[in-house]
Structure formats: C-alpha cells, structure tokens
C-alpha cells in the first residue's frame, strides 16, 4: 500500500525580525534589562581597585544572615508556632533564628554606617540608599512581629506595651499587635516577601550603578579595560 505524503508548504514565511529590533514585549524587556544590567555587571569578576576595605564585607554578610533567617524561619513555620516550646530540636531551630536575626542587624547597621561615611548616595545612587533604608525599616517591622508571635511571656508583655504606641497614632486600628493570627501571617508570609523584594531591588541597584568611588576621587585617563593592583590587562 502506498501512502501519499501531503505536499510540503512552500509558501515563504514572513521573516522573523532580529531580536535586536524585535517589537515583541519579551524582546524589548530583554533588551532593556541587558542595557541596564549586562551580565558582567550582574555577576562581576572585577571591582574598582578602591573597593579594598573590610567595610565592604558587611553588605554580603547581611545577605548571608538574611538567608539563614529565611531557612531557619521556614523550618519554624513548617512545624508551627508552638513547636519550639515543646521540642529541643524546635528550641534549637528557634535559637538559630534568634541569633541569625541578631547577626543580621549587627551586619546591617555596620553596613549602613559604612555607606553613610562613604556618602554612598553620590553619582545617582540615591535610590540605592533609599532602598537600603527601607529594607532596614522593613526589617525592624518584621523582627517586631517576630517578637509578638513568640507565644510566651515576652510576646505577652511586648504586645501589651506596643499596642499603646500604635493605637495612639491610629495604626492599631488596622494592625492589632494582640491578634496572634494577624501577627503570625505578617511575620511568616507578607513581611519577609516585602523585605526580600526590597533587598533584591537594592542589590540590583548596587550592581547596576557599581560601588561609589572615593570622595574627591580624581578622574583618570587610564583605559577602563585594565585590572589594577596587580595591573593585568583584561
């Protein structure tokens, strides 16, 4: 038995525009992203030679502590809010969460002070500073809800005291610190997402604009494509 294949469609298809000029939304988004944040800026393998101080370590240490907070927090969230009162493993996990938060704030505050003394907002980096401060303030709010949801004496006292401050300015009408359910969901769900999103935005801005040069830095005519100290051609 013979079968007849359908004749191939020989009608020429319309040319697909080169992605460099494609009007597709996806192409446009990719072009815009790459223009602002090319791979060598997003994941750099070199830094200006002036980036040579221990103060620069505290930004990445803050991020690392945030990661430990999220991981230990996920374990606590999975097991439920009362787990750490009754289980030694739960208590240890809570200790990891507690100390990673302490480290997070130590690193973050040192990072913040470092950036202040560098006047790191120079050169169109104001939004980098602003997102950093917002991340700091949002982190304080997140930590506060963590203290409120401990379901122990500490949370009883903190919620009793804090309600007055928030009620006096009207916030208490919407954010009830003595409502465990509200506090729990804010701490374990909404606020970590907010902090995480702001931190990602902050880091992307840092990568886009680069590390601020020293105050009174002198313009140089050296080619940009050299690696200094030791100076190695790129």
């Amino acid at each position: 038995m013979t079968t007849t294949r359908p004749a191939a469609d020989t009608t020429p298809s319309p040319p697909i525009p080169d992605s460099a000029e494609s009007p597709m939304w996806t192409s446009r988004l990719r072009r815009a992203w790459l223009a602002k944040l090319p791979p060598d800026k997003l994941l750099p393998d070199r830094q200006p030679a002036y980036v040579a101080s221990w103060i620069y370590v505290f930004g990445v240490l803050t991020l690392a502590a945030f990661l430990v907070i999220v991981v230990s927090g996920l374990a606590l969230a999975f097991a439920g809010p009362a787990w750490y009162h009754t289980s030694s493993l739960g208590h240890f996990t809570n200790s990891l969460h507690f100390w990673s938060v302490q480290l997070f704030f130590v690193f973050m505050v040192i990072h913040l002070w470092g950036k202040f003394w560098m006047a790191a907002w120079r050169g169109r980096r104001a939004m980098t500073w602003i997102t950093g401060v917002v991340a700091f303030l949002a982190s304080i709010g997140t930590a506060f809800t963590g203290y409120l949801m401990q379901t122990n004496f500490d949370s009883q006292w903190i919620s009793f005291e804090a309600k007055d401050g928030l009620n006096a300015v009207g916030i208490g009408a919407f954010f009830n610190v003595t409502n465990l359910g509200q506090v729990l969901l804010l701490h374990a769900c909404l606020l970590p997402l907010v902090v995480g999103a702001i931190v990602v935005w902050h880091v992307l801005l840092v990568r886009r604009h680069g590390v601020v040069p020293p105050i009174d830095a002198v313009p140089v005519t050296q080619p940009a494509d050299t690696i200094g100290d030791p100076e190695v051609p790129r």
Partner: protein
C-alpha cells in the same frame, strides 16, 4: 587632564561615570558562598552555646493563684468600668476619646475597630459559660435584673471601698454592693481552677487566633506589670530593647527607647501633656527621623557630614595613599 574633585552629596563627575581607574579581581560568587558558610557557622555556634530565651507565658490561673487579691480587685474594676481597658477608648471602646496631638487625632478618626467590652467579655460572659455554684448563679441573675445605673453603682461603690481598704476584705466598709463581691469571687475561683484561661481563649468558638481580650485583661492587673518589672522590661528602663534573661533584645530600637528615658516624656504626673501624649509624640519624632534618614541624600548639611568628618579616608586609605604619591 582635568582633575575636578567630587562634592559629597552633590554628585561628582567621577561618581557619575563608569570607573576608568585601576581594577582588581573579584569573585562575587565565591564571596557570597564564603559569607553564607561563615554566618551559618557563627549562628550555629551562638545557638549551640547560648541557646535562646523562652520565658513561659503567664496564665490567669497563675495570676489568681499567686496574687488572688489583685485578681479579685481587677475583676471588680472590670465590672465598675475603672480598669485601664474599660476606660481605654479606640480602638477597643468609646469610653475615652483617644490621644490627639493638636488637630492630629487618628486614634479618634478610625474609631472602634476591635471592640472589647470588659465587664461582659472579661467577667460576666465567662461566668455564664460555665456551670456555677448557686450563689454565683443567683448573683448573675441579680446583676442581669438590675438597671445599668444600679450595676455601675454597686460596682463603683465596691471598687472604692476595696481601694480604701487597701484590698483587705476584712477591712471593708459595709455598704450595698449587690452581687459584685460574689461575681468577683466566682471569677477568681474560676481563674484559680484554670477554667478561665480556656474560656477566655476560646470565647465560645472552636478556632480562635485573636488574643486581644486576654492580653488586655492580663494587663489590667499588676501581675503582668510586676513580672515585666522583675525582668527589667519596663519602658522607662530601656525595656523596649531589652530581652528576658541576659539575652540581647531589639537593640535596633535603642533610639525609639531612648525618648522614653527622658523625664519630659516620663514624668510622675500622668496629667502632664508630654507624658500623657508620649506614645504619639515619640512615634512622630521617630517618623520624622526615619524620613530624614531615608532622604539624607537630598538634605543639605546632613549629606555633607561624611565630607566634614573624614572617616572615608580610613575606608579608602589605599586609594588616597596612591593619590598622594608623586
């Protein structure tokens, strides 16, 4: 070649441009991995060595057992409407106007959003929810059959008499207190047995996630306050940033806590304007300071501090040393 110097805070040509000076090798992924490992190890060590605080929660049973007179007196205050929560105002009830700083009165604007009725929520409803002794049952019936004015009269008179007697029931002046003493004793007995903890938590429901009534009631007496004083957690002793035991607390709230240490906001006279409005005023101060921190790059003077105090010369000492070379 021109050598224009940058102006901290005003932007600079160098800060605006792509860096054209010397570079150094930098492995961002390796740095990130090392940071995660170091912080993880540090956290494990701190958690393993120092553990973490977890003081058990206070209960109404503990309160009624260790301080029955205070619990009894607080129950009377709830009926009389003289407790802190009974006279609080928004967002719990309309017993007071709420704090206003000049025309700014958000506590009043938003009104009652978490209604709490202390006489009923803390005393009468819990008593009615359980099978009671004959005298308590009769006292509840007497209370229910009385007018509102009569109820307040009984409770207020008894509250005053109890205060005058220093809480000592044997020194109580005789008077018409109606069913109030029996109701207060009934609630004290209920708390001592542990039943009140369950009743206040569940409030007739199976699931319950809002602890507002319990926290307010607990705070109306001296039990919670005394425990906080013993743990150095009072607001006027930096309690906002302290933690139970010897653990670090919310140290990042030091500036917020600082204002509460100033006598202006913490006087012995509760009618003093700054003291009675301290919560709102301090919040507004902190809001302004936070806004200033946020907008620092745009505030003349403040943004120039890093230039005036040259700590940056330590941070970039290698760079400046190279610049100084002939």
């Amino acid at each position: 070649m021109t050598t224009r110097h940058s102006k901290a805070g005003n932007g600079s040509d160098v800060a605006l441009q792509e860096w054209r000076g010397p570079w150094r090798r930098y492995d961002i992924v390796k740095e990130g991995v090392i940071a995660v490992v170091v912080v993880s190890i540090l956290t494990l060590l701190l958690a393993g060595i120092f553990s973490s605080p977890d003081e058990p929660q206070l209960t109404f049973q503990g309160w009624a057992t260790s301080a029955p007179d205070n619990f009894y007196a607080t129950a009377v205050q709830e009926l009389a409407g003289t407790s802190e929560s009974a006279g609080y105002g928004p967002p719990y009830n309309t017993a007071a106007d709420g704090v206003a700083v000049g025309p700014i009165a958000p506590q009043q604007w938003f009104g009652v959003t978490h209604p709490v009725d202390p006489p009923n929520d803390f005393v009468l409803t819990p008593l009615r929810s359980q099978q009671q002794s004959a005298d308590v049952t009769a006292a509840l019936a007497a209370w229910d059959s009385a007018t509102a004015d009569q109820q307040i009269s009984w409770a207020s008179d008894y509250d005053s008499a109890l205060t005058d007697a220093g809480g000592d029931l044997t020194q109580l002046a005789p008077g018409d207190y109606g069913p109030v003493p029996v109701l207060a004793q009934g609630l004290t007995d209920m708390a001592t047995s542990g039943a009140l903890d369950g009743v206040l938590t569940a409030r007739g429901a199976f699931y319950q996630t809002d602890a507002t009534p319990q926290i307010l009631f607990l705070g109306d007496g001296s039990y919670l306050d005394d425990a906080a004083t013993a743990a150095h957690l009072q607001g006027n002793t930096w309690g906002m940033m302290n933690e139970t035991g010897s653990y670090p607390g919310q140290a990042w709230l030091w500036l917020y806590s600082f204002w509460y240490q100033i006598p202006t906001f913490n006087s012995d006279n509760p009618d003093d304007y700054l003291t009675s409005h301290a919560d709102a005023l301090i919040f507004y101060i902190m809001a302004v300071l936070s806004l200033a921190l946020l907008l620092l790059p745009f505030i003349p003077g403040l943004r120039s501090i890093p230039r005036w105090i040259p700590i940056h010369r330590l941070i970039w000492r290698d760079y400046y040393r190279r610049q100084a070379r002939p």
